[in-house]
């Protein structure tokens, strides 16, 4: 795909050169883990002396439980910048130059998607670090091995691809920044709250839990949570994780194909 690499480098360059954007992107994971981890800590409701693991699918504390969710939400909220970046390029002029150049239309969009995935991965790394260093933070009660790292990386990359593609498809013909923010608000909050990202499914109303089971945010959050809490998985746990990752992979593949088709056919100045 011609033009993909130089465009990707341009995007990353713009990111690390903008100190505010870089800093907020890096501080945000700390905020989220600290705020979500304390504000939503449901184990406090149970009172002292209660074993939190009973509430939290075996996690010894709420932060350990929620890390998978926060990693996923980071992908969701950073992914939306893919859309706004496309609109910025259109409104500020560079899009006109890209379209006049002998490069694949899709590389214009995929450069944004890929730079978004890279940024999400960096944020994820910092987030895991942040969660480990804070008091009563992330622990790995079942140990930790290379396979677990691979599962977490796969889940984050897939969910990052899904959301970055989703928001770029939305922005492919859009000129109005307000419109995309409206859509982002409309999509992001339901995706966040109708999922297993923040709370165990036993806490949810059954109809809500039924819907949440089909939310990709749940698939990613649960896969990461499963390996963090259990370390080495049993075969039945593997089949759950396999199902979630498989579903994420299929969805990601569909989104990438959709992005490709939309970018090649529909992108405009």
């Amino acid at each position: 795909m011609s033009g993909l690499y130089p465009l990707l480098m341009r995007d990353l360059k713009k990111w690390y050169r903008n100190p505010v954007f870089l800093l907020t992107g890096l501080i945000q994971p700390f905020f989220w883990i600290a705020l979500f981890g304390s504000a939503m800590d449901i184990t406090r409701l149970a009172g002292p002396g209660f074993n939190p693991a009973l509430l939290l699918q075996g996690a010894p504390n709420y932060i350990t439980f929620i890390v998978g969710g926060v990693l996923t939400i980071t992908a969701l909220f950073t992914g939306m910048f893919t859309g706004t970046n496309i609109i910025f390029d259109r409104r500020l002029g560079p899009m006109g130059r890209f379209l006049a150049s002998p490069i694949a239309r899709s590389s214009i969009v995929f450069s944004k998607v890929l730079s978004s995935v890279i940024r999400i991965l960096i944020q994820a790394g910092i987030l895991v670090l942040a969660a480990s260093v804070i008091p009563n933070g992330l622990v790995f009660p079942g140990g930790f091995n290379l396979v677990d790292v691979l599962v977490i990386l796969t889940a984050i990359i897939l969910i990052a691809l899904i959301f970055s593609s989703l928001f770029s498809v939305i922005a492919i013909r859009m000129r109005e920044m307000n419109t995309i923010f409206g859509i982002v608000n409309l999509i992001n909050l339901p995706l966040l709250f109708v999922s297993y990202a923040m709370f165990p499914k036993d806490f949810m109303a059954s109809w809500l839990s039924d819907i949440a089971a089909y939310n990709p945010v749940s698939w990613s959050a649960e896969s990461i949570r499963m390996v963090i809490i259990n370390g080495s998985l049993t075969s039945s746990q593997w089949s759950s994780v396999g199902l979630w990752l498989g579903a994420l992979a299929i969805l990601a593949a569909l989104m990438v194909v959709l992005t490709y088709i939309m970018a090649e056919r529909e992108i405009r100045d």
Binding site: S2, G3, Y5, P6, L7, R10, K13, K14, R17, N18, L92, G93, P94, G96, R97, F98, L99, A100, S101, P102, I103, D269
Partner: protein
């Protein structure tokens, strides 16, 4: 020798959504090495035509070839061959001038070392060497337009499309841009397609020009031909003695009187360059002395008026508006 035109346009038509006829079945042939002007007011269809020829927009019907390639089927080949300087600014404000050049060079698979050497040469050409490492957001409007010009040249194009290259620039900066554009033709023999609604610009740069209005080509020719089609220059004589005016009109070659009053005579002649010396010797022989003498050559403005029924200058209000909006984006510093 029969040369194939480098651009051939046949019945090219663009109808936008909602039925707006932007370009109405135009035909054009542009020879290699020519500077070809499209002159017309805003909304005449110049930019739409350029956008179709540069493959950014597909035509509703009709077709065109650029450098032998079909604009519909071989858009990638055309993009590789041509340089485009669109009306809007396209440089990335967050990158430096040089980085912008190198980024666009990489789109054309120009090797890094070649791209660097070429960028330096182009930056020298438009006096941007010192500004090259600075972020484009710090550039003035004129600097940004100059950068746009050389970004369009980074792939050493065979054909260069310039869409309103001096829109919104002050007179001095505009003249400098003209010098660069003339240099491209002189030094590289580049074929240049130029749109403008500045008559002086077309007059200064173009070998041939088409006047465009409401999506149609009204007339095509060299600026001189078009002006000649107005049939004549206007000569204004001022006499010391008012009665001398009558004596001059007896001139045997025949003069077409336009206006005569208070010792001032306005006549129309076919070609003032030829007629004037003869007239002067006639005046001398008959002992007539002049107080003033002026020759007015027809301008493209009058040609435009004749073919469209209105003056380009009347477009002033919307033009200023557009220039202002452009400047708001250009000048951030």
């Amino acid at each position: 020798m029969d040369l194939q035109p480098i651009i051939k346009v046949e019945n090219l038509t663009k109808i936008y959504k909602g039925g707006v006829m932007a370009v109405d079945s135009i035909n054009l042939e542009i020879e290699e090495g020519e500077v070809y002007g499209l002159l017309g007011p805003n909304g005449a269809g110049k930019t739409t035509t350029i956008n179709m020829l540069t493959t950014r927009l597909s035509p509703t019907s009709g077709n065109a070839t650029v450098a032998g390639f079909d604009i519909i089927r071989h858009s990638m080949d055309i993009r590789r061959m041509i340089g485009v300087v669109p009306q809007d600014l396209t440089a990335d404000e967050d990158l430096s001038g040089l980085e912008n050049l190198l980024l666009v060079a990489s789109f054309y698979d120009v090797p890094k070392s070649v791209a660097l050497e070429r960028s330096q040469r182009l930056l020298r050409m438009v006096d941007l060497v010192e500004a090259a490492p600075r972020q484009v957001r710090q550039y003035s409007g004129g600097m940004r337009k100059r950068l746009e010009l050389i970004i369009g040249l980074i792939n050493e194009p065979k054909v260069l499309f310039l869409d309103e290259p001096t829109l919104g620039l002050d007179v001095q900066t505009r003249t400098t841009m003209w010098e660069y554009i003339k240099g491209l033709k002189r030094d590289y023999g580049m074929t240049i397609i130029l749109t403008s609604h500045y008559l002086e610009e077309i007059d200064a740069l173009a070998n041939r020009v088409s006047i465009v209005d409401h999506g149609k080509i009204l007339v095509t020719g060299t600026p001189a031909e078009l002006k000649a089609s107005l049939k004549g220059d206007i000569i204004t004589f001022g006499f010391r003695t008012a009665s001398d005016s009558e004596k001059l009109l007896e001139y045997p070659g025949g003069l077409e009187k336009i206006d005569a009053k208070d010792g001032v005579l306005k006549v129309r002649v076919e070609n003032a360059d030829k007629t004037l010396p003869e007239l002067l010797s006639y005046l001398f022989q008959h002992g007539i002395t002049l107080s003033t003498l002026s020759v007015q050559k027809p301008s493209l403005d009058e040609v435009f008026l004749q073919y469209t029924g209105r003056s380009l200058r009347e477009e002033g209000a919307s033009d200023r508006m557009k220039a202002m909006m452009n400047m708001r984006r250009v000048r951030k510093t």
